[in-house]
Amino acid sequence: MKRVLLLTVVCLLAATPAFAMHISEGILPFSWALFWYLAALPFVALGVRRLNALGREDLSLKPLVGLLAAVVFIISCMPIPVPTAGTCSHPCGTGVAAILVGPLVSVVIAAVALLIQALFLAHGGLSTLGANTFSMGVVGSLAGWLAFRSARRLGGSLAVSGFIAGTLADWGTYSATSLILTCGIRGEAPLLPLFSKVVLAFLPTQLPLGILEGVITAGMVTLLYKKRPDLLVKMRVITEKELPNHA
C-alpha cells in the first residue's frame, strides 16, 4: 500500500499544464469529419460485438477491459516533454491494449477514452472524434497488434515484441493523424508535399516518444508475465507451454 501512496504522490507532483496531439474541434471540414466517422464506425461496432463475446466466455475479462480503458485514458492524457523538440506530447496506449485484449476491443477502449477527453477535457473534439478514433484506435491498435503477432511468430521475446508493437502503434497513430490532417486542410494544395511537411513537423517529438512508448509497452507486458502469467494465457497472448513454471 505504501507503494500505491508513493505513486499517487508522484502523480500529484507531476501535475503540469497538459497538451494533446488529437485533432482539435473544428479543424476538419464537415465532409471529412463525417468520412472518418463512417470509417471508424464499423471497427467500433465489431469491437463492441467482440467485447460482448469475450464477456460471455469469461465475465472476469470485463473489469480487465475497464482497467485497460483507464490505462489508455491516462496514458493518452499524460503530457511528456521532449527536450530535443521543446514540445510535449503523449503516448497512445493502444499498442498494449491491442496486445492484451485484441485490436477490435482496443478500438472501443480508444473511442471511449477519446469521447471523455473530447467532452470534458477539451482534448480533440466531438466533430473530430471519428478521425481521432480512426488514427489512435483503428490504426494504432492494428499496427500494434500486427507488429506484436509478427514479431512473436518470428521468434521475438515478449519484451522485444512488446517494444516493437508499442513503437509502431505510436508511429502508426501519428502517420494516420498526419494523413487525416493533410486530407482535411489541403484544399487545392498537392497531397504529398503537405503530408511530408506534417510528418516532418511531428517527427522531432514523436520519434523519441514512440521509442518511449515501446519501452513502456515492453515493460508492462514483461511485468504481467512475471506477476500474472495466467492472465496472459487467458488473454491468449502466450500459450500454457510458455508459462514460467511449465514442465
Binding site: T8, A18, I74, M78, L121, A201
Partner: protein, 95 residues
C-alpha cells in the same frame, strides 16, 4: 543475499532513484520553458496556415487544466487501487 545486504541495496537504490525522479518532475513542471503541445505546435499551426482554425469545445473546461488534473489523479488512484486489489476483485468467493 543476506537480509542486511539486501536492505542496504534497497536503501541505496531509493536514495538514487527518488531524488532523480523528483528532480526530473520539478525540472519539467517548474522550468520556464512553455513545452507547447504538438496539437498547438503542429496540428493547429499548419491548419491555420491552410485556413482552418480550431473552435471552442462544446463543454469548455475553462483556463488551466484543473479538470484534466482531477481526472488524472482520480484515474491514477483508482487504477492503482484496482490493480493492487486485483485478486480480490476477480477471485471467486468460497461457497
Amino acid at each position: 543475499m543476506p537480509e542486511r545486504k539486501r536492505k542496504w541495496r534497497v536503501l541505496l537504490i531509493h536514495t538514487i532513484i527518488l531524488p532523480t525522479l523528483l528532480f526530473a518532475l520539478y525540472f519539467f513542471s517548474l522550468a520556464p520553458r512553455s513545452w507547447e503541445g504538438v496539437d498547438e505546435a503542429v496540428v493547429e499551426k499548419i491548419a491555420k496556415e491552410h485556413g482552418r482554425e480550431a473552435i471552442a469545445p462544446l463543454i469548455d473546461p475553462g483556463s488551466g487544466d484543473l479538470l484534466l488534473f482531477a481526472f488524472l489523479v482520480a484515474g491514477a488512484a483508482g487504477g492503482f487501487a484496482a490493480g493492487y486489489y486485483w485478486r480480490q476483485l476477480t477471485d471467486k468467493k468460497p461457497q
